[in-house]
């Protein structure tokens, strides 16, 4: 059980504030998620043809420069990177698959947190305030972000068990709720080649979306299928390259609040996370209808708006 937050900036002038605003939203969700916190920010698009990978290693003094240089040399390509605490954002002209393969062979303890063009995922155990400080979230700029504060229910409290979970290129998932059929789904997905590392039910949901998307479904179709195939209680927020999506299961016991102004769209498990955003007083506030998919892109809000 947890807290979810999401912030999508319509007004580009607010981009330098993204991290600061997200930090305050995450901290408001501490009570319902004290075990760990994580966020995905979309920013600094990689140059054409390049990929951005966020990597993690538990060793605080891990030699990321050596890794980057090794990768560049081995794949005969360009490579660049920025470290934030235990995470490292690597930009490379190599294909993401080649980079992942090399990294996996080079050092099995390095985890790939996200892959894409704009996405960066940071997550760690600890109180949201501490995790945000560790990664310098306050100073991070970007176009949109989703975040999560975790209260572990049926699996361990570790970095790997934290959300967001990557579900594909520039895609990630955060989850509030508890799935009741995740064990069989995990086995089913693994048999179909989806890599799932933990016993966390949310990772199964992410893996399920990954699978559907890989099989050619659109995000909408994948989420529709998820509503049918996943059993239990869930509110999902999905981060996409150009926006985010929100969906609740049909029984809809886990909360979700949406708010919109001319400058931003925000989503949170509790209104108080949204309360302090600029202009929140006058925002349009509503709750997503269960079983409907709501999504926002740079081009405007999609399906579900009419409800």
């Amino acid at each position: 059980m947890c807290g979810i937050v999401g912030l999508y900036l319509k007004d580009d002038a607010l981009q330098p504030e993204l991290g600061r605003r997200l930090t305050s939203m995450l901290i408001e969700m501490t009570d319902r998620g004290p075990d760990s916190a994580g966020f995905a920010v979309y920013r600094n698009g990689a140059p054409q043809g390049w990929s951005k990978l966020t990597l993690y290693h538990p060793e605080p003094t891990y030699d990321w420069d050596a890794l980057g240089q090794g990768l560049a040399a081995a794949l005969e390509t360009e490579c660049d990177g920025v470290r934030r605490a235990s995470h490292f954002v690597l930009m490379t002209a190599a294909s993401a698959e080649a980079a992942r393969r090399w990294i996996g062979e080079h050092d099995g303890d390095v985890r790939v947190m996200s892959v894409g063009e704009a996405i960066e995922i940071y997550k760690e155990t600890g109180l949201p305030k501490e995790v945000a400080a560790r990664f310098g979230l306050e100073t991070i700029s970007g176009t949109h972000a989703i975040g999560h504060t975790r209260l572990a229910t049926e699996s361990a409290v570790t970095t790997e068990h934290s959300h967001p979970f990557s579900t594909g290129r520039d895609l990630c998932l955060v989850h509030n709720g508890s799935l009741s059929n995740h064990n069989r789904l995990r086995a089913w997905l693994r048999r179909r080649g989806v890599e799932i590392q933990t016993d966390n039910d949310s990772e199964v949901a992410a893996g399920y979306l990954t699978y559907r998307l890989r099989e050619g479904a659109s995000l909408e179709e994948a989420l529709e299928a998820a509503i049918k195939d996943l059993d239990g209680f869930f509110t999902f927020a999905v981060g996409t390259r150009n926006g985010f999506a929100v969906v609740r299961d049909p029984i809809a016991c886990k909360h979700a609040v949406l708010a919109e102004t001319d400058q931003w769209v925000a989503m949170a498990t509790e209104y108080r996370a949204i309360a302090k955003l600029p202009g929140a007083e006058a925002a349009r506030i509503w709750e997503p209808v269960p079983g409907e998919i709501y999504s926002w892109e740079r081009t405007g809000m999609n399906a579900g708006e009419t409800h």
């Binding site: 059980m1 009570d31 319902r32 209260l151 229910t153 049926e154 709720g177 508890s178 209680f233 886990k254």
Partner: protein
């Protein structure tokens, strides 16, 4: 033709009671509803024994050398924690399931022994508040009779997520027990079969539970301890989550826990026994460094001072009794035998609480039957029983060299079966072996 008894062989898969049940289902088209707890054989505290005094461990003399039994519950957050004189409380049982005389008897006995009783699905009666000096008020999915005046009168609040007899099931009371008074308390029409919610109405999940507990504390000025009661299923996670949600006390009810009415399939096939549940709960608390900070009350099949001692040795702070308290009051006593037979049962096998025709006047709303249980007589019976259990507990604790019952520890125990050893985390007697470790 005479039957040669040697050729008669009944089936283990289809023994007589299973045959009878299938034929009853074929006849009635409804699951069997009954009272009492799980009747099937389970690994229990009977499979653990104490290692008493020896050359290296010295017993305490009875009487002069004190063996303390006092327990404090709710020290974590509450302004007014509860001080128990004995580590045995009376579990939540509703007025409705039980008659008023039974509730009063339990209240008086608990008061005399310096312990608590707990309300149930029907809410708080004035009789119980008056007769029970320290009263725990349950917050259940149904919220029958819930009101802030009673909330403020309570000495503790118990948020019920589930009970051992039916983790995942709501309260049940059949029409024959929904009398005018019960119906009034529960805001239901008289004589109907009560359908109850299985989930709490205004929160779902430990993240929301934290907010609910906060609201309850705000309404009661942060004065009283908040308990969370769970049926034994995913005990490790539940205990961790209860701690994180802000509980002062956790009440853990194993599958042997009783009920006045629910489906037989629920009673017999859902939940794990008390024996492994206790160990898991204590380890979860220790993992969070919260053992003894958040207190643990264990229930489900506690029958004697030996059971109490073993539960405490495994790490519980106190136990609660429900079925055993009923039995002390006369449940299944071989009296009024024609009335047992009228129900289709015999003393020793009766589980007919749901009928409201309790032959000994406990789980009934019928004033004539209730007369069979005068409150002060009932109070004396339960008081005697509690006293006996405490003396038994102290006897065992002294034999293990303990001056306080909380100093009993798992290392004072040995297991007699492999299952009990694995479940309790206690070595098999004569070995160092704990299966699964």
């Amino acid at each position: 033709m005479t039957v040669d008894p040697r050729t008669l062989r009944s089936s283990s898969s289809f023994p007589p009671h299973v045959i009878a049940e299938i034929q009853r289902a074929a006849d009635q088209g409804l699951y069997e509803i009954r009272g009492f707890g799980a009747k099937r054989a389970l690994p229990t505290f009977d499979d653990l024994v104490f290692l008493g005094a020896s050359t290296s461990r010295y017993p305490l003399e009875g009487y002069r050398e004190k063996c303390e039994t006092k327990v404090v519950l709710g020290s974590r957050f509450a302004k007014n924690p509860i001080e128990l004189k004995i580590p045995i409380t009376i579990a939540g049982m509703s007025f409705g399931a039980l008659g008023a005389n039974a509730k009063e008897a339990l209240g008086r006995a608990a008061t005399a022994m310096g312990t608590t009783t707990t309300t149930g699905d029907g809410g708080m009666t004035p009789e119980e508040r008056e007769s029970s000096k320290t009263l725990v008020y349950q917050l259940l999915p149904s919220r029958y009779g819930m009101n802030p005046d009673d909330l403020r009168k309570a000495d503790a609040i118990e948020v019920v997520i589930g009970q051992g007899a039916k983790p995942g099931g709501g309260g049940m009371l059949l029409g024959q027990k929904i009398t005018e008074r019960v119906a009034g308390m529960r805001t239901l029409p008289e004589g109907i079969d009560q359908r109850s919610a299985c989930r709490q109405p205004d929160w779902t999940g430990p993240d929301d539970l934290e907010i609910k507990i906060h609201e309850l504390r705000e309404i009661t000025g942060w004065r009283v301890p908040i308990y969370i009661k769970i049926g034994a299923t995913r005990v490790t996670y539940d205990v961790q989550l209860a701690v994180k949600a802000g509980a002062d006390v956790i009440v853990l009810d194993g599958m042997q826990g009783g009920t006045a009415a629910t489906q037989d399939v629920f009673i017999e096939h859902v939940g794990i026994p008390t024996l492994p549940a206790v160990r898991q709960a204590v380890e979860a608390l220790q993992g969070l460094d919260m053992h003894r900070e958040v207190q643990l009350i264990v229930s489900g099949g506690i029958r004697s001072g030996a059971d109490v001692a073993k539960a405490l040795a495994l790490g519980a702070d106190a136990v609660a009794i429900g079925s055993a308290a009923m039995v002390a009051l006369g449940c299944n006593k071989p009296v009024f035998e024609e009335d047992y037979r009228a129900l289709g049962t015999e003393p020793g096998c009766c589980h007919h609480c749901h009928t409201g025709r309790c032959p000994v006047g406990i789980t009934t709303q019928d004033p004539e039957l209730e007369q069979r249980l005068p409150p002060d007589h009932g109070a004396r019976l339960v008081r005697n029983y509690l006293s006996t259990m405490v003396l038994e507990l102290q006897t065992l604790a002294r034999a293990c060299g303990k001056s306080h019952v909380h100093n009993l520890e798992p290392e004072d125990l040995a297991a007699l079966t492999i299952e009990a050893a694995a479940m309790a985390g206690v070595p098999l007697a004569g070995t160092h072996w704990v299966p699964g470790r």
